[in-house]
Each structure stands twice: as structure tokens, then as C-alpha cells.
């Protein structure tokens, strides 16, 4: 990965082109026709400063600092509504999340935002996948959210605690536990999201 260029002038496309080459889904970003479907669909849209649509326009305009400092990156809950509805088939969620990762890496994001964001994402991932939070997986996913090297480092730091927990019978070994009727849980989550959006 080449270094993220800093545009020399307004609408210098170097940043946009870098995003196109280096951010997952970035090759589709320029397909945006600025219709607003994504931002309008976002259940967390009120919390965002820009929303994905405007964020994408800012990428094109080369507003690197503003893009990577945007709260939009941290408010995405990965509900994928924008992705599914986008009339241009742009993987909006993917792009936003990878921009968030980029922001974290480039040191734009406030530390707590990054940690909270990565943790809550890991937590939700487990809850949605298994109906339970599997501490091992949540922790590992959280650690590796910071990148591979950082993940290894964090994991080694916590190895002792983990082994202690296993010994004390507080953490099991083997396949993650799941709940019965996972499909019903999914329906419940979907409904909850819908209510949240309406409210």
C-alpha cells in the first residue's frame, strides 16, 4: 500500500484515485450519482456529520482530512441498508468501514472512538452470528481490528489472562456455543432495527 497522498489543490484527484486503488470497494466509489439513497436510509444518519453520500463527494473533492475525521466513519452500524439499496450497486458499507480503518491507521480517529468502534463491532458480530457472545472470538476479533501485527501483539499481551480463565473454567475450549432458533433471533434483531429507525 502506497502512502496516502495529500491533495495539493481543491479537487485534486490523487486522494480519490488512491482510495480507488487501495480501499476495498473504492473502485466503485466514483459510481456515486449523489442521489442520497444511502444517507436517507441510514438508521444512524442523524448521528453522522456527513453521511456516506456527502462523504463520497468529499473523497472526490480531495478533502482527505475532512473525510478521515468524519464522524460518519464511526457511526456506521453495518446494517447494510445503504449497500442493498444503492441504485448504482456501490458497496457503501464496505467503503465506509475501510475508510474508518484507514482513519484509525492514519491516526485521524479519536482513540476511544476507535476502540469503542472496534469492540462494539466485534460484540455485535458475535451476537448476530451465534446469539451469544463468545469471549474468545469477540476478543480476538477486536484485537485484530487494529491490524494483523497489532492483533498479535494485543493477543500475546493477554495470553496469560486467557489461560487463567480456561484453568478456572471461565472460558471453554472448542466450537463456539450457539442458541437454538437463530433465525428467530435474526427476525427479532431486524424488527428492533426497524423500530429504532422509525422512532
Amino acid at each position: 500500500m502506497t502512502a496516502v497522498p495529500t491533495p495539493s489543490r481543491t479537487y485534486d484527484l490523487s486522494f480519490a484515485r488512491w482510495v480507488r486503488e487501495n480501499v476495498e470497494g473504492g473502485d466503485k466509489l466514483n459510481m456515486c450519482m449523489q442521489c442520497g439513497m444511502c444517507s436517507g436510509s441510514c438508521p444512524n444518519g442523524q448521528e453522522m456529520d456527513n453521511g456516506p453520500r456527502k462523504l463520497f463527494m468529499m473523497v472526490r473533492a480531495g478533502l482527505k482530512d475532512e473525510v478521515l475525521s468524519s464522524s460518519t466513519l464511526w457511526e456506521c452500524t453495518s446494517c447494510y441498508r445503504c449497500y442493498v439499496r444503492c441504485p448504482r450497486g456501490i458497496p457503501v458499507t464496505t467503503i465506509v468501514q475501510h475508510l474508518a480503518a484507514l482513519a484509525a491507521k492514519e491516526g485521524y480517529a479519536p482513540k476511544n472512538k476507535v476502540e469503542n468502534y472496534f469492540f462494539s463491532k466485534a460484540f455485535w458480530w458475535s451476537a448476530e452470528s451465534f446469539g451469544k457472545t463468545d469471549e474468545r472470538l469477540v476478543t480476538m476479533k477486536y484485537f485484530f481490528s487494529f491490524g494483523f501485527g497489532e492483533g498479535i501483539r494485543k493477543a500475546l499481551d493477554n495470553l496469560k489472562i486467557a489461560l487463567g480463565m480456561i484453568k478456572a473454567g471461565r472460558m471453554h475450549i472448542g466450537l463456539p456455543h450457539t442458541i437454538k432458533n437463530k433465525s428467530q433471533l435474526k427476525a427479532m434483531i431486524a424488527k428492533a432495527k426497524e423500530l429504532e429507525q422509525k422512532g
Binding site: Q34, G36, M37, G40, K54, P87, G89
Partner: protein, 431 residues
Amino acid sequence: MTFVERRGTMAQDGPHSQTIAVIGGGIAGLTAALEAAETGYDVILIEKEPALGGRVTRLNRYFPKFCHPTCGLEINYQRLRKNPRVKVLTMHEVVAVDGEKGNYTITAKKLPRFVNEKCTACGECGKVCETEIDDPYNYGMSKVKAARLPHEHAWPMRYVIDPVVKGTDDQKRIEEACKYGAVDFSEEEEEVTINAGAIVWATGWRPYDARKLETYHYDSSPDIINNVEMERLANHDGPTGGKVVRPSNGEPAKKVALIQCAGSRDVNHLPYCSMICCLASLKHAAYVLEQYEDAEVHMYYIDIRAHDKMQTFYERLKVDPRLKFIKSKPAEIGLGEDGRPYVKGERTIDRELYCESYDLVVLATGMEPEAKGVDIKGDVVKDEDGFVLALEGEDGGQFSCGVAAGPFDVALSTMSGTAAALKAIQAVGAR
């Protein structure tokens, strides 16, 4: 060359027909048929509905002139009445086409009308008929007698009876009421074949099924309608006699949202721009503004695509302060708790999120080609979206015009209809 070989060659060539078949009796097909016939060629015009006129006969007005489609249609029907060269087949639905230039076989499903050419349109059958059906002329927004004249400007001016009455008491009543021997319930659906030397596809379009736009909840409220229904609502012979009201309760629809690109410009639905919707919606805005002094119309759009001369039309309407343009593709439309539909999304110009309630929401649904489901073989191209195009070059004998060929407005449809007439004439051998 032996005698047998020569016979063989002849059989292969088949009979060369100079008749031009036009499939579809909407504005494009009518134009193609009449232009060819007035140039001296025999034409068979095949229409699946009981009357000609297609989509445009259901429209209230044309943009940008605000004139009525029946005005131009009337002239075309006058031309048709005086021209013995055009043979019109109504209630014939083309299901397959095979063959080659000079010798095509068109297979059509002949649907029973239960009324023959002796019908005088006196209306006695309609009087005694008790069964009512959803009026297809009004897209089901109102009821109509099962024995009916398709509409006041129907051509041919002949009644049609819906198959639901077959075998009921209504059948007996209808048979007894007709003094002219015009009712014939023995008619069955049958397959017929038609031969022609050249074919013009003018099968037109249908509105994109708004139910497929899941987040727009078209079915959740009768006050969420599509653009062709809006045309009926504003039309003097529509379900409300031309009053733009809320279909749910008949109250005036003063606050109206017009939603552009409901299906069009969307890779999940119709990838192309349907061309007409922006202008049709501007026209819809004018309908509302004309009827209510205190109207409030919001047009949600991505781009206002007022092409060629239409820009003037847009500029002329733009100045009305009661009409607001909101650059936004609404994310969600639904039925609010107050019983009115709401529209939700992001205003892109100022990045504000909105959720507004309306009396009426009109989805500008795009055009989907009707030819999508027809089995077409041979010298013609059908693209991924179902539009039909003639072969490139000069070899084919099948041509297309109107929305069968692409998302066109009426001006482009009449233009392409006239052009298709020439191509067909060239194909059967200009003389």
C-alpha cells in the same frame, strides 16, 4: 439445374409477402401503420387490447403542450377510417414470430371478445350486465360493467365482454339484450397465424411494478400511486372525473410528492433512464397547481432531465413558488400514523434528513418494454432489458419503434414510427 432443384429453391424462398405487420396499436404502431398505408402498402395492425391507442389514450395530457392525446389519436382514427389498406386486429396477442424477410409467420393468441362486428355500441348489454370488474382502462382504480365500451374514445367503437360473465345469468341477460346479433359467447381463445413480409415491433411499455420497490410500500396506502394512475386521476373520464383527490378518502390532494426514478436509473431495477418521467411529473405538478390555489407540490429528483425543447417547459413551471424541487432520492415511503403517506430521506443540497407527510405520493415509475416476454426469433436483436432493435445494416425485415425500441417520449415514438414505416417498405421492396 434440374427441375426438382428449382422447385426446391422456390419452396425455400417461400411466398414473398409485401404486407407489413405492425405489432402494437399504440401511438408508435398507429403511426407506423398509417404512414406505410398512406404510402400505398398493405398493413396488418395487431393490437392485444380491445381498442387502439395503447398507453397514450390513457394519458390526460402531453407535455410540453398540455394538449390531449386523444386529439392526435382522433386524427389518426380518421386516417384509419378512410384507409382500406390497414387491417386492424384487436384482442390479438402476439406470442411468437418466426421466419425471414418476405416471409414471416406471426403466431397470435386471439382472445375472445364475445362481441362481433355487428355491434353498434348501443349499450344495451352494458345496461343489463350486473357483474362489475376492475376497470382496466383506469388501471383498476374504479369498477366498470363486465360488458362495456372500453372507453368513450374507443376505436373500434365496439363493446367487449369480460370472460367472468360466461356461464352466469349475466350471459343470458346480455344475449337477450342485444338486438343486433352481436353477442357471441361461443368465441374461444384460439391461436391464429398471420403472414407478413416485414414486421414492425411497436409493443410499447408497461409501468414498472412499483411493488418491487420494497422500501416505497406502494401497497400500504391507496394514496401512494404511480404516474400512470396519476394520469387517470387527472383525466376527465378517469375514476374521479378529473379531480386530483386522495384515493383513500376522496379529499383534495393538495400536498403532493412526486418521486422521480421510481425504478429507473437503478441497477437493482431498470438500469436506464426512462426519459419521460421528469417531464410527466412536471405535468403532474401542473395538474395539482391548476386545481388548488393553495397546493404544495414537492418534486424529489436526482436530475431533472428536460431534454431538447422541453427545457422551456421546465423553466416555465419552475417559477411557481408552490412547486419545490428537492434533490433527493427518497429512501423510504410508507403509511404514517396519521393515515397519510410519508416520504423520508436526505436532502442532498443541504444534507438535511427529512420525513414529510403528504396527501398523495406519486411514484414516477419507469417504462418496462412489453416485448420482454415475447418469443422473437430470427433477424432481430433483443437487448438485456427487453428492447427490440433491428439488425444493423440492411439485411433484416424486422424493425421497431416507440418504446419497444427504447425509452422514448411520444415525439420520439412518432418519429421512430415514421422511420420504421420506411424501413419496412424498403424491406418488402419499395415500388
